[in-house]
């Protein structure tokens, strides 16, 4: 397994939000964390990425424990994050946003370089010297994904990657993610667009009240509408 999360407990201050979440991601696999708002999906992501120190449990990446490590160590070990709300650097240009995150990759897949990211998102190439604050929502999302790719991750985590985007732009982002999936990049995707997730991911973990309430393949999720009804309010 690429990523293994076992009995993860985490929260904010004295307030606990995760009560023993367990899930895993294989090499080149795409999984989703789905569930209603406030159930602990983003807290899980923050814990995995080193932005939140877990209260308990284990997080292993390529067999090595990474729980409690700082965010930059986690990123360097091969986990890239596209955070909720995009969070690009508005006062840096597109080029600077990308160059800042650039990390070389040794061996394995073809490395992500500035040129490759710009070829992947030609719109960013057109806006290369524009400030981040001057980009549209879709362009900012492309930049956020491009920035995460520049760290040359083995696992990409996308937290609400299409939130607040126009339908056409959302389609464009999903198509881009399809291309990334085809390169063998493992991904964890959190999104509200269940139809798109079903068409995109291999396995799903339904997060309910800080725990994994259901897990299964896309075929199993599609075959059981009661799951969608019970946990996702669909």
């Amino acid at each position: 397994m690429l990523l293994e999360v076992r009995d993860l407990e985490a929260g904010y201050g004295a307030s606990k939000a995760l009560f023993g979440i367990s899930f895993d991601v294989g090499e080149g696999e795409v999984v989703t964390l789905i569930g209603r708002n406030g159930m602990g999906k983003s807290t899980t992501v923050k814990s995995v990425c080193g932005l939140l120190r877990p209260f308990g449990g284990e997080i292993r990446f390529r067999g090595e424990r990474i729980d409690g490590r700082s965010a930059h160590h986690v990123c360097r070990s091969g986990i890239g994050l596209v955070p909720e709300g995009r969070q690009i650097f508005p006062n840096l240009t597109v080029r600077e946003n990308l160059v800042m995150a650039g990390r070389p990759r040794s061996g394995g897949r073809e490395p992500w370089t500035l040129d490759r990211v710009l070829a992947f998102f030609p719109r960013l190439a057109e806006r290369l010297n524009n400030g981040g604050a001057q980009l549209s929502g879709g362009e900012q999302q492309m930049l956020a994904i491009g920035r995460a790719l520049m760290t040359n991750p083995d696992l990409l985590i996308l937290d609400e990657a299409t939130e607040g985007l126009a339908p056409l732009v959302r389609d464009h982002i999903w198509k881009s993610l399809d291309v990334l999936k085809a390169t063998g990049l493992a991904m964890i995707v959190i999104d509200k667009e269940l139809d798109a997730l079903i068409g995109f991911a291999d396995r799903h973990f339904v997060v309910e009240k800080g725990e994994v309430a259901w897990r299964g393949t896309t075929a199993e999720l599609v075959a059981d509408p009661s799951i969608q009804e019970a946990f996702l309010g669909v």
Partner: protein, 338 residues
């Protein structure tokens, strides 16, 4: 944190530092024509303060950290130059860790030494103070500054509160620098190098990380970059350059005093940077010039000059968010629009 506007007219951005240095270079001939050598003294002071303010802006404007230690490091540089010259004059070697050094009056040696000692001070203080941020960082740097200030006051052997006069003629690799023109152009060359180096740093990946961390350090961390070593490196570079500037001031006025290490002087450097503009490398040079000239003019007009000065600072900050550098940008834009 300063907003870095990527849409500034490129020629203006490239030309502005050259124009600023060029205008300063014209001061000695102008002083000659006007028969007023005092102008050279004023412009030299502008240059020295500008070097320290440009260095501070690396930390303040680009890394988003308000440091009040700049005057302390500035003074450390001054004391290195003055003490080295003092021991030559007294013909009494300095004993450091069992080694004896006779001192030196050669700025080619003592100015780099001033930068190294101030840089080391910045490294030690930065390792502690950069563990904090915001008002805590401000308070810790203020405390370190005052420690250095009182340390200098306690140096009775070197004049204590009264400061230390440099009684040996200073040289620069054999050149006599008591000639005001020569010293002026030497200081100006150092300012030009400082602008070039800081400009390169700010535009490099190092500078991009500094600016990004000033916006949001968690976002930088999830990109695999720990902001701390970058900030520490910027703090050390800034401190070393401040030490160099302090050494220049001591050499120029043949005197060093703890007064230039007081935290109020650090505040002056912050004002110079803000007044000139935090978002450009060259803005603090304009700020230093405005500060020194206004201080001179207003203090000769009224003893309550600081009140008027304060009003001017408020007016500039409220009307020109990017400091006086904004005026140049406005001119550049209107020129570009034509």
């Amino acid at each position: 944190m300063a907003e870095f506007d990527p849409h500034l007219p490129r020629p203006v951005e490239r030309l502005a530092p050259i124009v600023v240095v060029g205008l300063l270079a014209a001061v000695p001939p102008l002083a000659q024509v006007l028969g007023d050598p005092f102008l050279i003294k004023v412009a030299t002071r502008v240059i020295v303060f500008a070097i320290a303010a440009v260095a501070l802006n690396l930390v303040l404007g680009f890394a988003g950290m308000v440091s009040l230690l700049q005057a302390g490091l500035f003074g450390v540089g001054g004391y290195v130059v003055a003490i080295a010259a003092h021991h030559i004059f007294e013909a009494e070697p300095i004993g450091i860790a069992g080694l004896a050094w006779g001192g030196s009056a050669d700025l080619a040696l003592t100015l780099p030494l001033a930068a190294v000692v101030a840089g080391l001070m910045a490294l030690v203080t930065g390792m502690v103070s950069l563990r904090t941020s915001g008002p805590y960082f401000l308070m810790i740097t203020l405390a370190f500054d005052q420690m250095l200030y009182y340390g200098a006051v306690a140096l009775q052997k070197y004049g204590g509160d009264d400061g230390l006069q440099i009684l040996t003629p200073l040289t620069l690799a054999g050149w006599d620098v008591s000639n005001r023109w020569r010293f002026f152009y030497f200081a100006l060359a150092l300012l030009a190098v400082t602008l070039l180096v800081v400009g390169r740093l700010v535009g490099s990946r190092f500078g991009i990380v500094l600016r990004a961390a000033a916006e949001n350090e968690r976002r930088v961390a999830v990109s695999g970059i720990p902001p701390y070593p970058y900030r520490l490196a910027a703090f050390v570079v800034s401190g070393a350059v401040a030490g160099l500037a302090g050494g220049l001031l001591a050499a120029g006025q043949q005197f060093v005093s703890p007064a230039d290490m007081h935290w109020v002087r650090s505040g002056d450097f912050v004002v110079m940077a803000v007044l000139g503009g935090l978002s450009t490398v060259w803005g603090p040079v304009v700020g230093a010039a405005a500060f020194v000239v206004l201080e001179l003019l207003l203090s000769s007009w009224t003893q309550h000059w600081q009140l008027v000065f304060g009003l001017i600072i408020v007016a500039v900050v409220l009307s020109l968010r990017g400091g006086l550098a904004d005026l140049v940008h406005l001119l550049g834009r209107s020129g570009g629009a034509r």
